[in-house]
């Protein structure tokens, strides 16, 4: 294991120290609870957004705290959901009277810990709503299973819902928007190499020099199938087809979309842009117009090499929310 770390047990806490030192103008970190806050308290009357999850996906979520996006992010241990105490502390701190929306990714641990926190928050009189992101088409969805995993769409959702909250929409409106975004976006990822959890010290899975894991999860969970390493053009096809099939894009007319081509952590931008070119061609062939795009590493899996594609169908409302100012360490424009 080759990492720029000290004691593997201190990785998350020490990274939060660096985050706080790097962005003192914009962020404040509660090191006891491992919660990242905006430097300024929530504007009275604004719905507050709290997200969080296991660490190792940076800039998600701590890097998305700031104007136009999250109000607080709870950092769990690497790949382990935060505990209810963290989420409760964050919820209590950022509530400015208009209520709090919890944004969790669909993993059993995350959902249960956020649920416990929102029950406790509700008991103390705070209005809390939740949205659980489940956009990963690699896993079959069914009422009888844990369902799809939450991956790349989380980034887009946090941006868009953050803009809506900033506009002053109420908790119901913000929650409805969040759920409808979750309904309209899908993701799929592919890994070229594994990641290594610092405390475990060895790769989460083994891939041969000529193998790729198609449909991999953001914690190195297995995907749909293991295939031979092939060209970027063919890999693009493996991502675009399942995403669009699941979105059910059979209509003939062109449709606008917000598209993210995301790096898993160790994939250089040169490759991501090249992949984006391949993806854009395939999307065009199926009538999807990437009206807004993100190309870069926004939801990562430590030092895993690979990428994921997220496609969110976008109407005028979403495009306007997308263009609204955002000022976070991980995503910034118009401010």
């Amino acid at each position: 294991m080759k990492k720029l770390i000290n004691d593997p047990r201190d990785v998350v806490a020490e990274a939060l120290v660096g985050l706080a030192l790097a962005h003192p103008d914009r962020l404040r970190v509660d090191h006891d609870n491992a919660v990242v806050y905006r430097a300024e308290p929530t504007r009275p009357g604004k719905v507050a957004l709290v997200s969080g999850g296991g660490s190792g996906h940076e800039p998600l979520h701590g890097g998305f705290v700031g104007l136009g996006m999250l109000d607080a992010a709870c950092a769990g241990q690497v790949f382990t959901s935060p505990v209810p105490d963290q989420v409760l502390a964050a919820t209590t701190t950022v509530d400015a009277g208009a209520g709090v929306l919890h944004i969790a990714k669909n993993y059993t641990g995350d959902v249960m810990n956020f649920d416990m926190a929102s029950e406790l928050a509700a008991e103390s009189g705070i209005q809390v709503e939740s949205v659980v992101v489940d956009d990963d088409v690699a896993v079959e969805d069914s009422l009888h299973t844990a369902g799809r995993r939450g991956t790349g769409l989380t980034v887009l959702l946090e941006k868009l819902v953050g803009a809506a909250a900033e506009q002053g929409r109420d908790l119901d409106a913000v929650t409805t928007l969040a759920r409808s975004i979750n309904d309209r976006g899908r993701s799929m990822g592919v890994a070229l190499t594994s990641c290594t959890v610092p405390e475990v010290g060895r790769p989460t899975f083994d891939l041969a020099e000529d193998e790729i894991e198609v449909g991999v999860g953001i914690h190195g969970e297995p995907g749909r199938e293991r295939r031979s390493l092939t060209t970027a053009a063919e890999v693009a096809q493996m991502l675009v087809d399942p995403v669009l099939d699941d979105l059910g894009t059979v209509s003939a007319r062109e449709r606008a979309a917000i598209v993210m081509l995301n790096g898993m952590g160790a994939t250089p931008l040169l490759e991501l842009y090249l992949m984006f070119g391949e993806v854009a061609k395939l999307l065009a062939a199926r009538g999807i117009v990437p009206t807004r795009t993100l190309v870069g590493s926004y939801i990562t899996s430590l030092e895993m090499a690979g990428c994921s594609l997220t496609v969110l169908e976008a109407d005028e409302e979403l495009l306007t929310l997308w263009d609204a100012p955002v000022n976070t360490p991980g995503l910034r424009w118009g401010a």
Binding site: S81, N113, T204, P222
Partner: protein, 206 residues
């Protein structure tokens, strides 16, 4: 009545067992999950060991504190599940009845809490596959007037059978479910560690 001393002994014994088996539990989780179940529980039980026992006047308040400690330190799926089990178990201890009946009812309360949280049913390859049979057997024994010792011994045996039955199962809940058919062939880590909890109870509570 369940004394504070017995409750404390239960927690200490379980902590010891978890320390001993953490690596194995993590390895089971590595095969069908994310390689942290042993370290998750160990982190939690280490915190439970550190609870200043003298501050808790009765078994219920100590076990409630243990549950809250687990919720606050474990994270992941095990944190809420194990935490809820202890919280609900502690909350049911003031029911009337002989020791075996009270403990069986408390175990039922814990199980109900786990099912409410995790929505798993038996056959999903989870903690419920060991705890479900254990609770049923405990209730049966208690209703037949068995001693607490006999009740818990029988429950532990049932848990172990349920645990072993998870080996061929295909997971439908938790992280192992992403593996689909590939989850078959490995014993569920949570069913394994909850069986240790019932076994520990049989050793310490009666």
């Amino acid at each position: 009545m369940l004394t504070t001393e017995k409750a404390a002994a239960w927690l200490d014994d379980y902590a010891r067992v978890i320390h001993e088996n953490a690596a194995w539990l993590t390895d089971l989780d590595r095969q069908i999950g994310d390689a942290d179940h042993g370290s998750n529980l160990e982190r939690g039980m280490t915190a439970v060991e550190a609870i200043p026992r003298e501050e808790y006047p009765d078994a219920a308040s100590l076990l409630k504190k243990a549950g809250m400690t687990l919720v606050s330190t474990v994270g992941g799926a095990a944190g809420p599940l194990w935490g809820t089990f202890f919280l609900r178990f502690a909350g049911a201890l003031d029911e009337p009845g002989d020791d075996a009946t009270v403990v069986a009812a408390a175990m039922r309360a814990g199980l109900v809490g786990i099912v409410q949280r995790g929505k798993a049913t038996e056959g999903d390859k989870t903690v419920v596959d060991a705890l479900g049979p254990a609770v049923r057997v405990a209730e049966q024994k208690a209703s037949q007037g068995a001693s607490l010792a006999d009740t818990l011994t029988a429950a532990a045996e049932a848990a172990a059978v349920g645990r072993d039955a998870t080996i061929p199962m295909v997971a439908r809940k938790g992280r192992a479910s992403y593996l689909g058919d590939r989850s078959a062939g490995v014993q569920d880590p949570g069913a394994t560690s909850i069986t240790m909890l019932v076994e520990s109870a049989a050793r310490t509570l009666a």
